[in-house]
Symmetry: C2
Subunit: 382 residues, 2 copies
């Protein structure tokens, strides 16, 4: 198996891009990554996307975007794992390079969610959950996360205000990320008075519906050592049941634990070696559960990391360092690639005001559904 490195990254700002088509967003991210890598062609393109069939009336994004960026003819396909689609595309790209099938591979995540009317996007997002056992009962995806949050608060005796630190941290970091959708800090007071969406999840517990695309260029370490920005130490996937009621323990996120353990094993590290963690903070509750299941906090104590400032840039385990899903935004099928683009910025010292000093090993974790597909990548500085 060949070692894999990242030689270029690109991203579009996250936002409501009503004047840009899906293919245009993908195009912009791919060309930015290719320019960053200093390459003019590639061998393959794997596109992470969840919703284009339902929201844009367009499947078949692999060939579509390959052609639109001027690479007609190359291998291309779409990869989907709900909100984990971006990292899933990256995972396939890593296998393509590791296997020796391809040398220069593009992994792009793209999503366009805002150009719809009514509840179309909410309905489409619910296809990440179990249609027969959950969605047909009338629950939305936010509703499922609200049940998880309520259960967590009940089991561990946690109040809603304990989660404020996740939102404050994400928005403080997003304020210094020019690609973030929200670039304004948010106070704890603002968090506490935000409107309720699905009790106990309020507006500021949630990531926004938005558009965006990000791309990384993968290559074999032995042939691209001189251009390598970071090394891919681990690429691991684990799954759980889609339906939350069917899990061993709904507030344990077993797939996060399994995916993290697989990644730690591949990279030969422990949680103590991770300098920053791009967590899948689609909702505040997911941050707490992920920190616990990935081994950064005991059960029920994930919120303490936020309360004690341990998740800040200068803390013990910085998370959402460029704004996370909350402030940078969560264009679902693109998020996993944004996370890795941001890790590359951190590990190459390009994170500006948000730089985690001395960071040489970082972890990104992208989640599909309420913890049903969990994809973990660990990267190291060169």
């Amino acid at each position: 198996m060949r070692d894999v490195v990242i030689i270029g990254v690109g991203q579009t700002p996250v936002g409501e891009w009503w004047d840009k088509s899906l293919r245009q967003l993908g195009h912009d991210a791919v060309l930015a990554a290719m320019a960053d890598a200093g390459i003019e062609t590639a061998d393959a393109l794997y596109v992470g996307n969840m919703l284009s069939g339902q929201l844009v009336g367009q499947e078949h994004l692999g060939a579509l975007i390959a052609d639109f960026v001027g690479l007609r003819g190359i291998e291309a396909m779409k990869v989907e794992a709900a909100c984990g689609s971006g990292a899933a595309a990256l995972r396939v790209g890593v296998m393509a390079v590791a296997s020796g099938m391809h040398d220069v591979v593009l992994a792009c995540g793209v999503e366009k969610m805002t150009d719809t009317i009514g509840g179309v996007t909410t309905t489409a997002l619910a296809t990440a959950a179990d249609q027969e056992y959950e969605v047909s009962q009338g629950i939305s995806f936010v509703g499922l996360n609200a049940l998880l949050m309520r259960r967590y608060m009940y089991e561990f005796g946690v109040q809603h205000e304990a989660f404020a630190g996740f939102t404050v941290n994400a928005h403080r970091n997003g304020a210094h990320n020019p690609s973030a959708m929200f670039q304004s800090p948010v106070s704890e007071a603002a968090y506490l008075k935000a409107g309720m969406i699905a009790d106990p999840i309020n507006l500021m517990d949630s990531s926004p519906v938005c558009d965006g695309a990000a791309c990384v260029v993968l290559a074999p370490a032995d042939r691209f050592r001189h251009r390598a920005k970071v090394r891919v130490l681990a690429s691991a996937v684990a799954t759980d049941s889609l339906a939350v009621h069917d899990r061993r323990d709904p507030v344990a996120l077993d797939a996060v634990a399994l995916s993290s353990q697989r990644a730690y094993g591949q990279a030969r590290v422990t949680p103590a070696d991770i300098h920053l963690f791009e967590v899948h903070d689609a909702f505040s509750i997911m941050s707490a559960l992920s920190l616990e299941a990935a081994g950064f906090a005991p059960r029920g104590a994930g919120v303490r990391l936020a309360m004690d400032g341990e998740i800040a840039i200068s803390g013990r385990i910085p998370i959402s360092t460029m704004g996370g899903l909350k402030a940078r935004g969560h264009p679902v099928g693109a998020t996993g690639v944004y996370q890795v683009v941001e890790l590359v910025q951190q590990l190459t010292g390009q994170a500006g005001a948000n730089q985690v000093q001395g960071a040489t090993i970082g972890m990104a974790q992208n989640i599909g559904g309420s913890g049903a597909t969990v994809i973990t990548h660990i990267l190291s500085a060169i």
Copy 2:
């Protein structure tokens, strides 16, 4: 790169399965393949599917089916390349094994298309074409293929009846395949009087809307030599523009040529070495164009192979040997895996009345859109 073998195959009959859910179909195919391989677990599952988000309200099929077959926890994701999704999932599975990431990998294709009302399925299928440049103009996917067929007939002076042999051959073979949707022979006379769908494509030029699932089990040759059924000699993908008007030559299928050439190069064979060819005969015109672009006939002469009986089981290049997309059926995201299951039947001498005598090398080609993604696998007997 490790050599890859197939150690088990499974399929459900193709049909209108209103009493079986999407996950049930996937489950049935996966368990059949695992039983055939004599295995009780696997490391990863890649699911080929195109339409579940639009037609079933369910994305996230990787984790869903992994859990439903009792493999909760394993790596899983969905792969999509329109009607080429099945072979795309197989392609990812081959990379997973070749890279050394996984040993025992399931590649499953599943589609459920019939449990809808009105024109929903036709609209969903059109997401394989270019939404902005084709579909928004009002054309359907059948309509696009009708334009190709009309152009072919004009350029090469071919009459509609010249295509009859493709349908007659497919249905003759399907009659002996217990998994085929249509198991009755069709005469040339019946072909000629079939109702018109999109002139010049009539009902018998077209593959049916249907449900089904198929699965293969992949493993590394060095560790599973004793269980290997066939070897994977080549796995190659090529792309073209989605929009037909934007191609160099609409009746040349450049991506078929490129994908075939890449596969021939990997397998170190020429078209003359291929004993049977599972062609993507979604429409009769695709058979003719594919035979030409893949190197089995000169341009404009693909129909001659059908007229002269060269595509029959005993002919020079047997195609659609188990009924093809026309008679076995075309559950779009599953088709590419069905093709490979059938190749395995042929190369292991299990094809019954349809057995191609002495077949040791076979090719399967799965196409997304009107030739925009073309995925070719070449297999050999052990």
